[in-house]
Symmetry: C2
Subunit: 250 residues, 2 copies
C-alpha cells in the first residue's frame, strides 16, 4: 500500500440495511460540501445475508464471521483505504476483521468516546445496546479505562422494550420502535444516567422517528463514526495537498 493511494472509505453494511443507509446519510450531513465532488467517496458492501449477530451471541445459529470476512475482502479488493462498520454488535468480531484487512478499520467505540470527551462529559453514561454488545463489554471497558461511570439496562428492560424495539426497526415499524426504545432510555435516566450512548445503530433511527426529547442528551455512535470518517478524509486531503504530484499519479 503506497502513500499515493486514492482515499476511499469502505463500509461493511447490511447489519441492518436501514442502519447502513442512516450512517451514509449522517456522513453526508456531517460533510461541509458545496458540491457532489466534495463528498467523501465510499464503497458500500450492503449484503444483509449475514447470520443474525444477536442470535449467535445468545448461543443460537451460525456464526456471522465468515460472511463479514467476505465483505472485508471485497471492500479491500475494491480499493478501500479505511473501513468502518455501522453496527455496534458486529464490533464483537472487530479484531478478527481488522486482522484480515489490509485497510485499517476505524472502531465505532473509539469514535464514540472521542465524541463524548469532546463534549467534556464526566457524567454518568447510560448504554443502550444489544445483549451481545453489553456482554462483550466493549463500551464498559473503554469507559472504565477513561474513568467514566456508567449504568446498563436491566434484564426486564432488555426483554420487554429493547429487543422488540430493535426488531420493530428492522421491519420499519418506526413509531412503535421509538416508543419501546424510549422506555429503555427513560429507565437508564431513572438509574442516574445524565448522558446516553445509543450503542445499537437501530436506536437513533427509532428515537428520531418519535422526536424523543432524550435525543438532546444522547450520543449517536453513527454520527461519531461519520465524524471520524470525515476527519480521516480531511487528513488524507491535507496530506495530498503537500504532495500533489504523487497524488495525481494514476
Amino acid at each position: 500500500m503506497s502513500l499515493t493511494r486514492t482515499p476511499l472509505v469502505g463500509v461493511l453494511g447490511g447489519m441492518g440495511p436501514l442502519a447502513t443507509v442512516d450512517f451514509l446519510h449522517k456522513l453526508i450531513l456531517a460533510t461541509p460540501a458545496g458540491r457532489d465532488q466534495e463528498h467523501v467517496p465510499t464503497v458500500v458492501w450492503n449484503v444483509p445475508q449475514i447470520p443474525d449477530r444477536q442470535h449467535y451471541l445468545a448461543g443460537h445459529g451460525d456464526s456471522p464471521l465468515p460472511a463479514m470476512l467476505e465483505g472485508i475482502e471485497r471492500l479491500n479488493e475494491a480499493g478501500a483505504t479505511r473501513i468502518v462498520i455501522p453496527c455496534n454488535t458486529a464490533h464483537h468480531w472487530f479484531d478478527e476483521l481488522a486482522a484480515a484487512s489490509t485497510a485499517p478499520l476505524i472502531h465505532i467505540v473509539d469514535a464514540t468516546l472521542d465524541a463524548l470527551e469532546r463534549d467534556a462529559a464526566s457524567e454518568c453514561v447510560g448504554i443502550i445496546a444489544t445483549r451481545g454488545t453489553l456482554q462483550s463489554g466493549l463500551y464498559q471497558q473503554r469507559l472504565a479505562a477513561r474513568g467514566i461511570s456508567y449504568v446498563l439496562p436491566d434484564e426486564p428492560a432488555l426483554d420487554r422494550w429493547f429487543t422488540p424495539g430493535c426488531y420493530a426497526v428492522k421491519r420499519n415499524a418506526l413509531p412503535l420502535a421509538g416508543n419501546l426504545l424510549e422506555q429503555v432510555a427513560e429507565a437508564l435516566v431513572g438509574q442516574g444516567a445524565t448522558r446516553l450512548i445509543l450503542a445499537c445503530t437501530e436506536v437513533p433511527v427509532a428515537l428520531a422517528a418519535i422526536n424523543s426529547p432524550l435525543q438532546a442528551v444522547s450520543i449517536d455512535p453513527a454520527v461519531a463514526l461519520a465524524k471520524a470518517v470525515l476527519a480521516y478524509w480531511n487528513h488524507a486531503q491535507a496530506a495530498g495537498a503537500v504532495q500533489p504530484t504523487a497524488l495525481a499519479a494514476p
Copy 2:
C-alpha cells in the same frame, strides 16, 4: 456467468451522494422484509469525484464517462449481477456503460414508464429534468413511442427555478430547494400536465422536504427503479427455489 451466480445488485452512485442514499432508502421501504436477511443485497460504488454531468452536457469541463466506466468495472469485479444508476442525467451514457458491463443494466426510464403504465395513465405528463436529460430526449422518445403526450419546462423555468433548486439539494438546503422546484412543477401543471415525472433524482428529495401536495400526482423514478430492482430480486429468488442445490453451491 453461470446461472448459479448469487444475485447481487450493483449501484453506480455518487451522482449525487444524497440521491444515492435516497434510492437505497426507497429500496428498503419498497421491500416487504421482516428481517435483515430478506433485504436485497447491494454493493454501492458511491464515489462522487465524477466530473459534473450537467456542465459537460452544456459544453464545459471534462467528460464524466471515464469515472463512470471505472465504477461499472468495480461493480462487476465485486460480483454485481444487475446494475442500476440512481441518476437520470447519467443515463445519457447508458449505452456505453451497458456495453462495458458484464452485468445487465436496468434503465431508469424503462422502470419509470412501466410504473406509469401500471397506473393506467393516458394523461399529459410533465417532465422535470436537467437540460441534459431533456436535450437527450430520453423520456420524450420513450413516451412518444407509447403514445403518451407530454409537456416540458421552458427555458426561464429551468434558469430561474430548476437549476438553482437542484444545486440547493446538493448543498443540503432542502426547504429552499423544495420551494424552487415546486414552482417548476406548478408551471407544468399550468401547461396542462396531469401527471409529473420527477426525472432528476434531486427533485423528489426536495418536494418531500416541503411536503408538496404535487407529490400526489408525481412519479418518482427512484421509487420506480427500486421496484424494478425488487422485481429482479424476487424473480432471482423464485428461480433459486427451483434449483436449490445449484444455488447452495459456493
